[in-house]
Subunit: 138 residues, 2 copies
């Protein structure tokens, strides 16, 4: 159940234009024969197209070093946590855009679990806090 309509988030947040998705274009599909164009490049191309008009920036990157669990992508805004995803399909462009807009709308800089597209739940590889982050009470 999606409680937040990602199509409306860009209209309601000031920071949405600062969200960036990095898609690894060198990724092969883990455990599958090599193919050209590479699945990562196909996903990047689809994500660039899906981003048109959304305010989301998409950058192609040669390697996110998540090679054993590709295809891979990462996302972050200024001040947000950085998320890295793997095991993505070439059909995950919309999931990446929807996730990026959820992250852009998150006041606490954390990508919410509720409403998060399924590929960004099962494909979570790691997350890193923003540069100035300090954990409370440790």
């Amino acid at each position: 159940m999606t409680l937040i309509d990602p199509t409306r988030i860009a209209e309601t947040t000031a920071s949405s234009d600062a969200v960036t998705i990095y898609v690894c274009i060198t990724c092969q599909r883990a455990g599958m024969p090599e193919s050209e164009p590479r699945p990562g490049a196909v996903l990047a191309e689809a994500t660039v197209k899906a981003a048109i008009g959304t305010g989301v920036t998409v950058r192609r990157v040669r390697c996110l070093a998540n090679c054993s669990r590709g295809p891979s992508a990462a996302m972050r805004c200024n001040g947000s946590w950085t998320y890295i995803f793997g095991g993505l399909g070439t059909d995950c462009a919309t999931a990446l855009i929807d996730g990026a807009r959820l992250l852009a709308a998150a006041a606490d800089g954390l990508l919410p679990w509720r409403g998060r597209p399924e590929p960004l739940k099962r494909g979570l590889i790691a997350r890193v806090p923003p540069l100035d982050f300090e954990e409370d009470h440790v």
Copy 2:
């Protein structure tokens, strides 16, 4: 063979004081029985101690979401790539500090392979470019 002496890097770079290591304190050892204190917390404590006098900032973080391949840590400077490592031992504090100083000294923002401590080679989980990164020729 280490060609760069990490103990001398802090003296020769202006950015070394900006390097931060995030150590996940909730990490258990993947595939091992649960234990208290958690291996991640032990590693964090050791890394805080190893950082004294080095100019490296160490932050404890509750979860880097790399749970299946912990213990985990991440590192970055302003303008550098962000690196995430897993499968670390509680004896990896010095490796983390040495790696952080190598990263702080890297003019291109990339953690060099040569001279990188072994746990940061075999434990590489992923890397993410700096916020303003654009790949050439893609």
